[in-house]
Protein backbone atom coordinates (compact mmCIF):
# COMPACT_ATOMS: atom_id res chain seq x y z
CA UNK A 1 0.00 0.00 0.00
CA UNK A 2 2.79 2.34 0.91
CA UNK A 3 4.31 1.74 -2.53
CA UNK A 4 1.07 2.76 -4.19
CA UNK A 5 0.91 5.93 -2.09
CA UNK A 6 4.56 6.69 -2.83
CA UNK A 7 3.94 6.18 -6.53
CA UNK A 8 0.96 8.51 -6.47
CA UNK A 9 2.97 11.07 -4.57
CA UNK A 10 5.96 10.84 -6.94
CA UNK A 11 3.62 11.12 -9.91
CA UNK A 12 1.88 14.17 -8.46
CA UNK A 13 5.14 15.88 -7.54
CA UNK A 14 6.63 15.23 -10.94
CA UNK A 15 3.50 16.48 -12.71
CA UNK A 16 3.53 19.71 -10.67
CA UNK A 17 7.20 20.32 -11.32
CA UNK A 18 6.66 19.61 -15.00
CA UNK A 19 3.91 22.23 -15.25
CA UNK A 20 6.06 24.81 -13.53
CA UNK A 21 9.37 24.14 -15.19
CA UNK A 22 8.54 23.06 -18.73
CA UNK A 23 8.07 26.62 -20.08
CA UNK A 24 11.21 27.83 -18.30
CA UNK A 25 13.41 24.99 -19.51
CA UNK A 26 12.00 25.38 -23.02
CA UNK A 27 12.68 29.13 -23.07
CA UNK A 28 16.17 28.71 -21.65
CA UNK A 29 17.05 26.20 -24.36
CA UNK A 30 15.34 28.25 -27.02
CA UNK A 31 17.51 31.21 -26.02
CA UNK A 32 20.50 29.09 -26.92
CA UNK A 33 19.07 27.24 -29.90
CA UNK A 34 16.59 29.17 -31.90
CA UNK A 35 15.10 26.17 -33.62
CA UNK A 36 11.74 24.86 -32.48
CA UNK A 37 12.32 21.22 -33.34
CA UNK A 38 15.73 21.03 -31.66
CA UNK A 39 14.45 22.99 -28.67
CA UNK A 40 11.63 20.47 -28.26
CA UNK A 41 14.02 17.53 -28.59
CA UNK A 42 16.45 18.92 -26.04
CA UNK A 43 13.64 19.90 -23.65
CA UNK A 44 12.39 16.32 -23.85
CA UNK A 45 15.88 15.06 -23.10
CA UNK A 46 16.12 17.32 -20.04
CA UNK A 47 12.85 16.04 -18.59
CA UNK A 48 13.66 12.43 -19.38
CA UNK A 49 16.96 12.81 -17.54
CA UNK A 50 15.21 14.55 -14.68
CA UNK A 51 12.68 11.71 -14.49
CA UNK A 52 15.42 9.08 -14.52
CA UNK A 53 17.39 10.81 -11.78
CA UNK A 54 14.48 12.17 -9.76
CA UNK A 55 14.94 9.55 -7.05
CA UNK A 56 18.46 10.79 -6.45
CA UNK A 57 17.52 14.45 -6.27
CA UNK A 58 17.83 15.87 -2.78
CA UNK A 59 16.26 19.21 -2.00
CA UNK A 60 18.73 19.59 0.87
CA UNK A 61 21.58 19.77 -1.59
CA UNK A 62 20.14 22.09 -4.20
CA UNK A 63 16.86 23.67 -5.17
CA UNK A 64 14.97 21.97 -7.96
CA UNK A 65 15.62 25.02 -10.18
CA UNK A 66 19.36 24.74 -9.75
CA UNK A 67 19.21 21.02 -10.36
CA UNK A 68 17.08 21.04 -13.49
CA UNK A 69 18.88 23.96 -15.07
CA UNK A 70 22.20 22.23 -14.43
CA UNK A 71 20.79 19.33 -16.43
CA UNK A 72 19.56 21.76 -19.10
CA UNK A 73 22.96 23.43 -19.44
CA UNK A 74 24.67 20.08 -19.83
CA UNK A 75 22.16 18.87 -22.38
CA UNK A 76 22.78 21.95 -24.52
CA UNK A 77 26.56 21.60 -24.11
CA UNK A 78 26.30 17.95 -25.14
CA UNK A 79 24.23 18.92 -28.13
CA UNK A 80 26.81 21.40 -29.36
CA UNK A 81 29.62 18.96 -28.75
CA UNK A 82 27.78 16.32 -30.74
CA UNK A 83 27.26 18.84 -33.50
CA UNK A 84 30.99 19.49 -33.43
CA UNK A 85 30.64 23.16 -34.02
CA UNK A 86 30.74 26.34 -32.09
CA UNK A 87 27.60 27.99 -30.87
CA UNK A 88 27.52 30.74 -33.43
CA UNK A 89 24.85 31.80 -35.85
CA UNK A 90 25.41 34.48 -38.44
CA UNK A 91 22.81 37.10 -39.08
CA UNK A 92 22.56 36.00 -42.73
CA UNK A 93 21.92 32.46 -41.63
CA UNK A 94 19.17 33.49 -39.25
CA UNK A 95 17.51 35.68 -41.85
CA UNK A 96 17.56 32.75 -44.20
CA UNK A 97 16.04 30.57 -41.53
CA UNK A 98 13.36 33.10 -40.90
CA UNK A 99 12.51 33.46 -44.56
CA UNK A 100 11.85 29.72 -44.76
CA UNK A 101 9.44 29.92 -41.86
CA UNK A 102 5.83 29.73 -42.96
CA UNK A 103 4.20 30.85 -39.71
CA UNK A 104 1.87 33.88 -39.63
CA UNK A 105 3.37 37.33 -40.05
CA UNK A 106 3.42 38.29 -36.40
CA UNK A 107 5.02 35.05 -35.41
CA UNK A 108 7.57 35.53 -38.15
CA UNK A 109 8.47 39.02 -36.93
CA UNK A 110 8.80 37.76 -33.40
CA UNK A 111 10.99 34.93 -34.54
CA UNK A 112 13.17 37.28 -36.57
CA UNK A 113 13.61 39.55 -33.60
CA UNK A 114 14.48 36.59 -31.41
CA UNK A 115 17.04 35.44 -33.91
CA UNK A 116 18.59 38.88 -34.05
CA UNK A 117 18.70 39.02 -30.28
CA UNK A 118 20.38 35.65 -30.21
CA UNK A 119 23.00 36.77 -32.69
CA UNK A 120 23.75 39.93 -30.72
CA UNK A 121 23.68 38.04 -27.45
CA UNK A 122 26.52 35.90 -28.76
CA UNK A 123 28.65 39.01 -29.08
CA UNK A 124 28.71 39.30 -25.29
CA UNK A 125 31.22 37.36 -23.18
CA UNK A 126 30.08 33.80 -22.41
CA UNK A 127 29.33 34.43 -18.74
CA UNK A 128 27.19 37.48 -19.54
CA UNK A 129 25.29 35.52 -22.20
CA UNK A 130 24.60 32.81 -19.64
CA UNK A 131 23.39 35.31 -17.04
CA UNK A 132 20.88 36.72 -19.53
CA UNK A 133 19.67 33.27 -20.54
CA UNK A 134 19.31 32.16 -16.94
CA UNK A 135 17.46 35.33 -16.04
CA UNK A 136 15.11 35.74 -19.02
CA UNK A 137 14.89 32.13 -20.16
CA UNK A 138 15.06 30.15 -16.94
CA UNK A 139 13.65 32.98 -14.79
CA UNK A 140 16.05 32.21 -11.98
CA UNK A 141 16.60 34.76 -9.27
CA UNK A 142 20.05 36.26 -8.77
CA UNK A 143 20.85 33.94 -5.87
CA UNK A 144 20.12 30.85 -7.93
CA UNK A 145 22.15 32.19 -10.87
CA UNK A 146 25.01 33.03 -8.51
CA UNK A 147 24.97 29.50 -7.17
CA UNK A 148 24.99 27.96 -10.62
CA UNK A 149 27.81 30.11 -11.92
CA UNK A 150 29.85 30.24 -8.75
CA UNK A 151 29.61 34.03 -8.42
CA UNK A 152 28.30 36.29 -5.69
CA UNK A 153 24.69 37.45 -5.77
CA UNK A 154 25.62 41.13 -5.95
CA UNK A 155 28.01 40.40 -8.77
CA UNK A 156 25.17 38.83 -10.74
CA UNK A 157 23.05 41.99 -10.29
CA UNK A 158 25.87 44.21 -11.51
CA UNK A 159 26.68 42.00 -14.47
CA UNK A 160 23.06 41.61 -15.46
CA UNK A 161 22.46 45.36 -15.51
CA UNK A 162 25.67 45.90 -17.46
CA UNK A 163 24.93 43.07 -19.93
CA UNK A 164 21.46 44.34 -20.74
CA UNK A 165 22.82 47.81 -21.44
CA UNK A 166 25.58 46.38 -23.60
CA UNK A 167 23.13 44.25 -25.52
CA UNK A 168 20.86 47.25 -26.00
CA UNK A 169 23.78 49.25 -27.41
CA UNK A 170 24.81 46.47 -29.79
CA UNK A 171 21.22 46.10 -30.92
CA UNK A 172 20.74 49.84 -31.46
CA UNK A 173 24.03 50.17 -33.33
CA UNK A 174 23.13 47.40 -35.71
CA UNK A 175 19.62 48.80 -36.22
CA UNK A 176 20.98 52.24 -37.00
CA UNK A 177 24.00 51.05 -38.94
Amino acid sequence: MSTVRENESARKTFAELYEEYLPRVYRYINYRINDTQITEDLTSTVFEKALTNFGKYSKDKASFSTWIFSISRNVVIDYYRAQGRRQTVSLDETTELASRDLSPEEELLKKEEREKLQVYLMKLPQDEQEIIRLKFGAELNNRQIARMLGLSESNIGTRLYRSIRKLRDVFQESENG
Binding site: T3, A15, N30, F47, N53, N74, I77, L117, F171
Partner: protein, 297 residues
Protein backbone atom coordinates in the same frame (compact mmCIF):
# COMPACT_ATOMS: atom_id res chain seq x y z
CA UNK B 1 28.42 55.08 -6.27
CA UNK B 2 25.63 54.45 -3.77
CA UNK B 3 23.16 55.98 -6.22
CA UNK B 4 24.34 53.66 -8.96
CA UNK B 5 23.96 50.68 -6.65
CA UNK B 6 20.43 51.74 -5.73
CA UNK B 7 19.57 52.17 -9.39
CA UNK B 8 21.01 48.75 -10.18
CA UNK B 9 19.02 47.15 -7.36
CA UNK B 10 15.82 48.83 -8.47
CA UNK B 11 16.45 47.75 -12.06
CA UNK B 12 16.82 44.13 -11.00
CA UNK B 13 13.69 44.32 -8.84
CA UNK B 14 11.75 45.70 -11.78
CA UNK B 15 12.97 42.87 -13.99
CA UNK B 16 11.86 40.34 -11.40
CA UNK B 17 8.42 41.94 -11.39
CA UNK B 18 8.34 41.98 -15.18
CA UNK B 19 9.17 38.27 -15.30
CA UNK B 20 6.49 37.61 -12.70
CA UNK B 21 3.98 39.07 -15.16
CA UNK B 22 3.43 42.38 -13.40
CA UNK B 23 2.84 45.61 -15.26
CA UNK B 24 5.91 47.75 -14.67
CA UNK B 25 6.15 51.40 -15.65
CA UNK B 26 9.34 53.38 -15.40
CA UNK B 27 8.90 56.97 -14.32
CA UNK B 28 10.19 59.93 -16.31
CA UNK B 29 12.48 60.84 -13.43
CA UNK B 30 14.68 57.93 -14.42
CA UNK B 31 17.63 58.55 -16.69
CA UNK B 32 17.41 57.89 -20.42
CA UNK B 33 19.98 55.13 -19.95
CA UNK B 34 17.85 53.40 -17.33
CA UNK B 35 14.62 53.72 -19.29
CA UNK B 36 16.03 52.42 -22.57
CA UNK B 37 17.77 49.57 -20.77
CA UNK B 38 14.49 48.61 -19.15
CA UNK B 39 12.65 48.85 -22.46
CA UNK B 40 15.22 46.49 -23.87
CA UNK B 41 14.70 44.10 -20.97
CA UNK B 42 10.99 44.22 -21.80
CA UNK B 43 11.82 43.36 -25.41
CA UNK B 44 13.86 40.39 -24.19
CA UNK B 45 10.89 39.19 -22.17
CA UNK B 46 8.36 39.65 -24.95
CA UNK B 47 10.45 37.94 -27.58
CA UNK B 48 10.57 34.69 -25.66
CA UNK B 49 8.73 31.77 -27.14
CA UNK B 50 6.54 29.27 -25.32
CA UNK B 51 6.25 25.55 -25.94
CA UNK B 52 3.27 24.60 -28.07
CA UNK B 53 0.34 23.01 -26.19
CA UNK B 54 0.66 19.90 -28.38
CA UNK B 55 4.32 19.41 -27.49
CA UNK B 56 3.59 20.10 -23.84
CA UNK B 57 0.86 17.46 -23.69
CA UNK B 58 2.75 14.86 -25.73
CA UNK B 59 5.86 15.12 -23.59
CA UNK B 60 3.79 14.95 -20.43
CA UNK B 61 2.01 11.81 -21.66
CA UNK B 62 5.31 10.22 -22.59
CA UNK B 63 6.89 10.98 -19.22
CA UNK B 64 3.89 9.72 -17.28
CA UNK B 65 3.90 6.55 -19.35
CA UNK B 66 7.54 6.01 -18.47
CA UNK B 67 6.74 6.64 -14.82
CA UNK B 68 3.98 4.03 -15.00
CA UNK B 69 6.36 1.50 -16.55
CA UNK B 70 8.79 2.01 -13.71
CA UNK B 71 6.04 1.61 -11.14
CA UNK B 72 4.99 -1.65 -12.78
CA UNK B 73 8.56 -2.95 -12.63
CA UNK B 74 8.64 -2.24 -8.91
CA UNK B 75 5.26 -3.93 -8.41
CA UNK B 76 6.48 -7.02 -10.25
CA UNK B 77 9.28 -7.31 -7.72
CA UNK B 78 6.83 -6.95 -4.84
CA UNK B 79 4.58 -9.61 -6.38
CA UNK B 80 7.52 -11.98 -6.57
CA UNK B 81 7.96 -11.56 -2.82
CA UNK B 82 4.23 -12.12 -2.24
CA UNK B 83 4.29 -15.45 -4.10
CA UNK B 84 6.91 -16.80 -1.70
CA UNK B 85 4.88 -15.53 1.22
CA UNK B 86 1.83 -17.30 -0.19
CA UNK B 87 3.76 -20.56 -0.55
CA UNK B 88 5.02 -20.34 3.02
CA UNK B 89 1.47 -19.93 4.27
CA UNK B 90 0.33 -22.97 2.29
CA UNK B 91 2.13 -25.23 4.77
CA UNK B 92 -0.15 -25.79 7.76
CA UNK B 93 1.27 -24.83 11.13
CA UNK B 94 0.94 -28.35 12.58
CA UNK B 95 4.38 -29.88 13.44
CA UNK B 96 3.50 -33.09 11.56
CA UNK B 97 2.68 -31.25 8.36
CA UNK B 98 5.70 -29.01 8.73
CA UNK B 99 7.98 -32.02 9.18
CA UNK B 100 6.48 -33.64 6.12
CA UNK B 101 6.87 -30.42 4.13
CA UNK B 102 10.48 -30.06 5.19
CA UNK B 103 11.22 -33.66 4.22
CA UNK B 104 9.56 -33.16 0.86
CA UNK B 105 11.58 -30.01 0.23
CA UNK B 106 14.82 -31.80 1.07
CA UNK B 107 13.94 -34.69 -1.22
CA UNK B 108 13.07 -32.31 -4.03
CA UNK B 109 16.25 -30.31 -3.56
CA UNK B 110 18.35 -33.48 -3.54
CA UNK B 111 16.66 -34.82 -6.66
CA UNK B 112 17.12 -31.44 -8.30
CA UNK B 113 20.82 -31.40 -7.48
CA UNK B 114 21.30 -34.92 -8.76
CA UNK B 115 19.40 -34.15 -11.92
CA UNK B 116 21.58 -31.13 -12.56
CA UNK B 117 24.79 -33.07 -12.03
CA UNK B 118 23.63 -35.56 -14.63
CA UNK B 119 23.56 -38.49 -12.23
CA UNK B 120 20.24 -39.72 -13.54
CA UNK B 121 21.77 -40.23 -16.93
CA UNK B 122 24.48 -42.50 -15.51
CA UNK B 123 23.19 -45.72 -14.08
CA UNK B 124 26.39 -46.50 -12.26
CA UNK B 125 26.58 -44.80 -8.93
CA UNK B 126 22.97 -43.70 -9.00
CA UNK B 127 21.78 -46.17 -6.46
CA UNK B 128 24.71 -45.34 -4.21
CA UNK B 129 23.98 -41.62 -4.41
CA UNK B 130 20.30 -42.19 -3.79
CA UNK B 131 21.16 -44.17 -0.71
CA UNK B 132 23.46 -41.39 0.49
CA UNK B 133 20.75 -38.82 -0.06
CA UNK B 134 18.22 -40.96 1.69
CA UNK B 135 20.62 -41.35 4.58
CA UNK B 136 21.08 -37.58 4.74
CA UNK B 137 17.36 -37.01 4.69
CA UNK B 138 16.76 -39.56 7.39
CA UNK B 139 19.50 -38.19 9.62
CA UNK B 140 18.76 -34.50 9.00
CA UNK B 141 16.55 -32.99 11.66
CA UNK B 142 13.19 -32.25 10.03
CA UNK B 143 12.94 -28.98 11.94
CA UNK B 144 16.26 -27.86 10.52
CA UNK B 145 14.99 -28.57 7.04
CA UNK B 146 11.87 -26.56 7.69
CA UNK B 147 13.91 -23.69 9.04
CA UNK B 148 16.06 -23.79 5.92
CA UNK B 149 12.93 -23.66 3.79
CA UNK B 150 11.50 -20.78 5.79
CA UNK B 151 14.88 -19.07 5.62
CA UNK B 152 14.85 -19.23 1.85
CA UNK B 153 11.34 -17.83 1.79
CA UNK B 154 12.20 -15.04 4.19
CA UNK B 155 15.34 -14.18 2.29
CA UNK B 156 13.43 -13.93 -0.96
CA UNK B 157 10.81 -11.68 0.63
CA UNK B 158 13.43 -9.51 2.30
CA UNK B 159 15.38 -9.25 -0.95
CA UNK B 160 12.28 -8.19 -2.85
CA UNK B 161 11.35 -5.66 -0.17
CA UNK B 162 14.89 -4.34 0.06
CA UNK B 163 15.03 -4.03 -3.69
CA UNK B 164 11.77 -2.13 -3.62
CA UNK B 165 13.10 0.22 -0.97
CA UNK B 166 16.53 0.65 -2.46
CA UNK B 167 15.38 0.99 -6.04
CA UNK B 168 13.59 4.28 -5.88
CA UNK B 169 11.21 4.80 -8.71
CA UNK B 170 13.86 6.66 -10.55
CA UNK B 171 17.41 5.89 -9.57
CA UNK B 172 20.83 5.76 -11.11
CA UNK B 173 23.87 4.23 -9.48
CA UNK B 174 27.45 5.46 -9.49
CA UNK B 175 28.60 5.50 -13.07
CA UNK B 176 32.39 5.65 -12.82
CA UNK B 177 35.41 5.83 -10.56
CA UNK B 178 38.43 7.70 -11.84
CA UNK B 179 41.60 6.75 -10.02
CA UNK B 180 43.81 9.83 -9.94
CA UNK B 181 46.52 9.40 -7.28
CA UNK B 182 48.28 12.67 -8.05
CA UNK B 183 50.28 14.30 -5.29
CA UNK B 184 50.97 18.03 -5.19
CA UNK B 185 53.24 19.65 -2.63
CA UNK B 186 53.00 23.30 -1.63
CA UNK B 187 55.29 24.72 1.08
CA UNK B 188 56.21 21.19 2.07
CA UNK B 189 52.59 20.10 2.51
CA UNK B 190 51.68 17.18 0.28
CA UNK B 191 48.09 16.42 -0.64
CA UNK B 192 47.21 13.44 -2.78
CA UNK B 193 44.08 13.53 -4.84
CA UNK B 194 43.10 9.87 -4.75
CA UNK B 195 40.04 9.46 -6.89
CA UNK B 196 36.85 10.94 -8.26
CA UNK B 197 33.59 9.04 -8.05
CA UNK B 198 31.02 10.11 -10.61
CA UNK B 199 27.40 9.71 -9.69
CA UNK B 200 24.31 10.54 -11.69
CA UNK B 201 23.68 13.82 -9.96
CA UNK B 202 26.96 14.73 -8.29
CA UNK B 203 30.58 13.68 -8.03
CA UNK B 204 32.74 13.07 -4.99
CA UNK B 205 36.45 13.86 -4.83
CA UNK B 206 38.69 12.09 -2.30
CA UNK B 207 41.97 13.69 -1.20
CA UNK B 208 44.46 12.55 1.39
CA UNK B 209 46.89 14.37 3.66
CA UNK B 210 48.93 13.29 6.64
CA UNK B 211 49.67 16.22 8.97
CA UNK B 212 53.02 16.12 10.80
CA UNK B 213 52.97 13.99 13.97
CA UNK B 214 49.55 12.68 13.02
CA UNK B 215 47.96 10.00 15.13
CA UNK B 216 44.45 8.86 14.54
CA UNK B 217 42.21 10.56 17.10
CA UNK B 218 40.28 8.16 19.29
CA UNK B 219 37.43 10.56 19.69
CA UNK B 220 36.69 12.79 16.66
CA UNK B 221 34.56 14.98 18.94
CA UNK B 222 37.57 16.08 20.98
CA UNK B 223 40.42 16.54 18.54
CA UNK B 224 43.94 17.47 19.59
CA UNK B 225 44.80 21.14 18.83
CA UNK B 226 47.09 20.12 15.96
CA UNK B 227 44.15 18.62 14.06
CA UNK B 228 41.55 21.23 14.83
CA UNK B 229 40.50 23.48 11.98
CA UNK B 230 42.26 21.38 9.33
CA UNK B 231 39.27 21.57 7.05
CA UNK B 232 40.15 21.96 3.38
CA UNK B 233 38.42 24.13 0.83
CA UNK B 234 38.45 23.65 -2.91
CA UNK B 235 37.29 24.90 -6.25
CA UNK B 236 36.77 23.16 -9.55
CA UNK B 237 36.18 23.89 -13.17
CA UNK B 238 34.97 21.59 -15.91
CA UNK B 239 36.49 22.10 -19.34
CA UNK B 240 37.55 25.62 -18.48
CA UNK B 241 34.03 26.64 -17.48
CA UNK B 242 33.14 28.72 -14.45
CA UNK B 243 35.17 28.17 -11.30
CA UNK B 244 32.89 26.86 -8.56
CA UNK B 245 33.52 26.44 -4.83
CA UNK B 246 32.89 23.00 -3.39
CA UNK B 247 32.49 24.26 0.14
CA UNK B 248 34.48 22.82 3.05
CA UNK B 249 35.64 19.21 3.01
CA UNK B 250 34.20 16.42 5.10
CA UNK B 251 36.99 14.70 7.00
CA UNK B 252 37.49 11.02 7.67
CA UNK B 253 40.23 10.21 10.16
CA UNK B 254 42.11 7.13 9.01
CA UNK B 255 44.99 5.27 10.63
CA UNK B 256 47.33 6.65 7.99
CA UNK B 257 46.09 10.23 7.85
CA UNK B 258 43.15 12.44 7.00
CA UNK B 259 40.87 11.87 4.06
CA UNK B 260 39.14 14.99 2.74
CA UNK B 261 35.94 14.51 0.82
CA UNK B 262 34.60 17.20 -1.50
CA UNK B 263 31.32 17.19 -3.33
CA UNK B 264 30.79 18.53 -6.84
CA UNK B 265 27.09 19.20 -6.72
CA UNK B 266 26.37 19.18 -10.40
CA UNK B 267 26.10 16.62 -13.11
CA UNK B 268 29.32 16.20 -15.04
CA UNK B 269 28.44 15.68 -18.65
CA UNK B 270 29.49 12.38 -20.20
CA UNK B 271 31.35 14.33 -22.83
CA UNK B 272 33.26 16.51 -20.38
CA UNK B 273 36.96 16.15 -21.04
CA UNK B 274 38.84 17.64 -18.13
CA UNK B 275 38.25 18.48 -14.51
CA UNK B 276 40.51 21.04 -12.90
CA UNK B 277 40.39 20.60 -9.16
CA UNK B 278 42.13 23.09 -6.89
CA UNK B 279 42.45 22.68 -3.15
CA UNK B 280 42.70 26.31 -2.16
CA UNK B 281 43.33 25.92 1.54
CA UNK B 282 44.00 23.43 4.27
CA UNK B 283 43.35 24.96 7.67
CA UNK B 284 45.45 28.11 7.75
CA UNK B 285 47.65 26.99 4.87
CA UNK B 286 47.03 28.40 1.44
CA UNK B 287 47.60 26.40 -1.73
CA UNK B 288 46.83 26.06 -4.40
CA UNK B 289 47.23 22.33 -4.79
CA UNK B 290 46.07 21.95 -8.37
CA UNK B 291 45.13 18.75 -10.17
CA UNK B 292 44.17 18.22 -13.77
CA UNK B 293 42.00 15.14 -14.16
CA UNK B 294 41.14 13.60 -17.48
CA UNK B 295 37.52 12.51 -17.57
CA UNK B 296 37.70 10.59 -20.81
CA UNK B 297 40.13 7.78 -19.93
Amino acid sequence: MAREKDEEREFIENIERLLAGEEVTVGREKSEDYRTAFDFARKLTESRSDPSPVFKQQLKDRLLLRLTEREMEVRQKVKFGSIWEFLANLVPRSPVWRTAAATLVIVLVTVGVLWRTGMFTREAGLEELARESEQEIMTAAPEAGLKAFEGVVEEEIEAAEAEEEEAPLLSVAMSEVIEVNQTQTVDGVAITLERVELFATESVVFAFNRPPDYTMPQDPESLPPSLQGLIASAQYSIDGGPVIDTGPSEIHFLESGMQHIFRIREIISEDAVELTFIITGLGELHGPWEYIISLQE
